[in-house]
């Protein structure tokens, strides 16, 4: 390109091109010109690419969330779902970031810093701890620069989101309208046409039942099941089985002493004589003199308790005498801190001029520092020692296990023998099994029903928890099969009766409704169809005395017009059919609403409106964007 420029440059064109080049380098930097390529792109959203690495990071965290959720609801992890969720959240995040760019939203490094400093996860013993922070984010695969950029993006997105959600307008009218609907009462009559008698009277021939069984055979299947053999290898078990000598543990302690040291902590008695930030020299001197008096008393043998009883009141500046617990460095005023950590046990300080006071401290006791002994921490040391020895064995054993299971794909016995592991055997279980926590583990299920394993091979090494792995193979397999007719005959008959009876009463109910709508009187219908009407007056939407389906129907029926009741019906879960008649609708007196109720409705409407605005906004932005997902790379 530069060649062409040189050949063509002359006069004004030269000015413009050179100028434009300089501007473009200045704005986007030379860097972006050269470091293209290299990284694999997973998704592109408009002009921004999302790298595969970022996709994988989000995939991990989505998958963790799903697993957490599944633990509570039981079920197996669906990889497609995780992928889809990962894509959706990455795309949404990027779209929102771009809207933030367009709007010129900006979050300064200071704002980012103050959020990071306040996060619970990054707190050490005394406030924010940089090493805790760096360790925590490294586990998530972030460098501080990346993490801070991410927080910055998230904060900007949050600003956009809150600009909508925190400013939702809910007018008094809307709230009152919903309150009106919630408090509305209705007078209804209804009749439930029972299907019980019909069910009792129905009978079916064997042929009919058999035919039903054949046509609905998909509902009467026993799912595929397997029985597996497995080897279970865990770091904890290896560590527990080791024989260790006292000398080894002690040696381990000596070389890792630093890990068992506790931070230097001091328990102090503390005297504060109040001054202020703007105190004059003179005021400080008065406080200092007072402090000296108190120190003299203490050195003369008076105890702190006595001192606080007798001398905290009195003329002059306010004196506060307190007993503090164990403190680490960095909690007290810097000047006090310095003195506090230089005193010996039992020593009393000279007056210390701090920012807003003159202080005196006495160190009551010192803990931590170099004082932690082997005996204090023996148990922890032994555990850590065992783990450290076992770790190597564990990882070697995993390698061996993987090799042996792979070299002898048709048996696990050799691996069991060589590694001295017990070969366990499971019960039969299917894909949705919940009989045993191990057998309902999504990874175990996925491996047990994978093609390779079903074909008789050993599975790969499966990591079922951190530091715990398994290899499994299928011992026996039962294919999906029909449940024998005789075993489900009863169930089928019950279902046939239910369906047929439900249809019959529904037909009856619908003809009743037709009669009513064409003007037959309620009593006439009752006689003709031998049904009974029940009345329910002044019921609300949340009434508990009336059958739920009846209630729902009653509130869907609209309002009677010019004294004419309105009618409707619905099938109930039991197979019965309800005929419902609404005779009156009464709107509540607006002054009867309770303030608390109105507040609740308002909050609810705010939430709904905020969610709906946001969802539509993201969709709207998305519909105007150019999004490419490179599926084959995921």
């Amino acid at each position: 390109m530069l060649q062409i420029i040189r050949e063509k440059t002359s006069g004004l064109i030269a000015i413009l091109i050179v100028g434009a080049l300089i501007v473009s380098f200045a704005l986007w930097g030379v860097g972006s010109y050269f470091d293209q390529g290299g990284d694999v792109i997973a998704i592109s959203v408009n002009d921004t690419d999302i790298e595969l690495r970022e996709y994988q990071r989000v995939y991990q965290s989505v998958s963790r969330q799903f697993q957490e959720f599944l633990k509570q609801s039981s079920g197996s992890l669906d990889d497609e779902l995780v992928k889809k969720q990962t894509l959706e959240s990455l795309i949404e995040r990027e779209l929102v970031t771009q809207v933030g760019d367009d709007l010129g939203l900006r979050v300064s490094a200071n704002q980012v810093r103050s959020v990071i400093n306040s996060l619970e996860a990054f707190q050490g013993l005394s406030g924010f701890d940089n090493s805790v922070y760096e360790r925590a984010i490294a586990q998530l695969g972030y460098t501080p620069a990346m993490f801070e950029r991410q927080i910055q993006q998230d904060m900007r997105s949050e600003q956009l989101q809150s600009s909508i959600s925190e400013s939702v307008i809910v007018t008094e009218n809307e709230v009152r309208m919903i309150a009106g609907l919630q408090n509305q009462t209705r007078d209804i009559s209804y009749s439930i046409i029972s299907s019980d008698k019909i069910k009792e009277e129905l009978s079916f021939s064997d042929e009919e039942i058999k035919a039903f069984y054949e046509t609905n055979s998909r509902d009467y299947l026993d799912p595929e099941k397997v029985k597996i053999a497995f080897l279970d290898l865990s770091l904890q078990k290896i560590a527990g089985d080791l024989t260790v000598s006292e000398d080894d543990i002690r040696a381990f302690y000596e070389s890792n002493k630093a890990d068992y040291d506790v931070e230097d902590q001091r328990k102090v008695r503390h005297i504060t004589i109040e001054t202020s930030e703007e105190a004059t020299e003179e005021q400080i001197n008065i406080a200092r003199t007072r402090a000296e008096e108190l120190i003299a008393k203490l050195r003369g043998g008076m105890s702190f308790d006595e001192l606080s009883e007798k001398h905290s009141d009195g003329p002059g500046p306010k004196v506060e005498i307190s007993e503090l617990g164990f403190l680490t460095k960095g909690i007290m005023d810097a000047a006090v801190d310095e003195v506090m950590f230089s005193l010996q046990e039992g020593e009393i300080s000279e007056p210390i001029v701090a920012e807003k006071s003159v202080d005196v401290v006495m160190v009551e006791s010192i803990k931590g520092g170099a004082k932690n002994t082997f005996e204090d921490t023996r148990e922890q040391v032994e555990e850590a020692y065992r783990i450290s020895i076992a770790e190597n064995q564990f990882f070697e054993a995993i390698d061996q296990l993987a090799d042996l299971a792979y070299e002898h794909p048709d048996t696990l016995e050799i691996a069991a023998e060589d590694l001295e592991l017990t070969l366990n055997e499971s019960e039969f279980f299917n894909r949705n099994s919940q009989s045993d926590p191990l057998l309902s583990d999504s990874k175990i299920i996925a491996a047990s029903f994978s093609e390779d394993v079903l074909n008789g091979n050993n599975s790969e090494v499966i990591e079922i928890a951190s530091n715990r792995v398994m290899v499994l193979r299928v011992l026996e397999r039962k294919a999906e099969q029909k449940i024998p007719f005789e075993e489900v005959r009863e169930r089928i008959v019950t279902r046939m009766k239910y369906e047929k009876a439900r249809n019959q009463v529904q037909t009856k109910g619908e003809s009743i409704l037709e009669k009513l709508k064409s003007g037959s009187s309620v009593d006439q219908v009752a006689t003709d169809f031998s049904i009974e009407w029940k009345d329910a007056t002044a019921i609300k939407r949340d009434n508990t005395g009336v059958n739920r389906s009846v209630l729902r129907t009653a509130f869907k029926l609209g309002r009677p017009e010019s004294g004419q009741a309105v009618f409707g019906g619905s099938s109930l879960g039991s197979g019965d059919y309800a005929v419902v008649m609404v005779k009156g609708v009464f709107d509540p007196d607006a002054s009867s609403y309770k303030e608390e109720e109105l507040q609740q409705i308002k909050a609810q409407l705010q939430r709904l409106k905020a969610a709906s605005s946001w969802t539509q906004l993201v969709k709207d932005v998305r519909s105007q964007s150019d999004i490419n997902v490179f599926k084959d790379r995921l």
């Binding site: 300089i22 307008i169 869907k556 906004l617």
Partner: protein, 214 residues
């Protein structure tokens, strides 16, 4: 590319080019540099404005969440006064509109929303604001104005469900049950497709006795 026989020839050619174009090249560089520094300075200024507004906005949101409407209002006014050209001013106006509605000052709410609408160029956000203006108009019982506002927005993007729901509200309040039902029903079906909550719409339809499945 020209092939130069010797180094001398090359130097000669360069000199010649320089004589012909040198001055304009220097001028170009100077112009470019001026553009950069002007542009950079402007960008720095903009960024710094945005960062200050952002800090205030953060404080405004915290006050809002703490239910301190007065404090939130003060912050919002400060943002509008000091950083009028930033998007934060638009956000602040949205917050002020909400406060005005809470105080029953509907005209003021409308002014704030109108300002926000006129000063944002983000199309999706414009829909959100337009719908809020319609909310206020309905609360003022200016139904035909609301109807016109909604009707004039024919390019609704992904906000159709909300527009239809509001049109349904206007029709219902004007007593046109059939038109209201039609709008609500369309809104429900779009909302369902988009995965939006339909509980309020369902309740309104139920009350008009026209839910689809009975």
């Amino acid at each position: 590319m020209d092939i130069y026989q010797t180094e001398d020839e090359q130097v000669e050619a360069l000199k010649k080019w320089w004589e012909e174009n040198g001055k304009s090249a220097i001028f170009g560089v100077v112009l470019g540099l001026m553009a950069i520094f002007g542009w950079r300075e402007w960008k720095d200024y903009e960024a710094q404005q945005a960062a200050s507004a952002s800090q205030l906005y953060q404080e405004m949101i915290i006050a809002t969440r703490d239910q301190k409407a007065d404090k939130a209002g003060e912050k919002a006014k400060e943002i509008v006064a000091e950083y009028e050209s930033t998007a934060y001013a638009v956000f602040a106006k949205l917050g002020l509109a909400k406060n005005a509605v809470a105080n029953g000052e509907l005209d003021k709410a409308r002014e704030n929303l109108q300002w926000a609408l006129d000063n944002t160029r983000q199309d999706s956000l414009r829909h959100v604001i337009t719908l809020r203006i319609a909310d206020v108009l309905i609360a003022q019982n200016k139904l035909s104005e609301a109807n016109t506002l909604l009707g004039n927005n024919t390019n609704r993007g992904e906000f159709s469900a909300s527009y239809l729901q509001m049109e349904g509200d206007v029709q219902r309040l004007e007593g046109n049950v059939d038109a209201a039902v039609e709008a609500y029903q369309k809104a429900v079906s779009i909302a369902q497709e988009s995965g939006l909550d339909t509980s309020i719409l369902d309740m309104k339809l139920d009350d008009l006795g026209r839910s689809k499945e009975l």
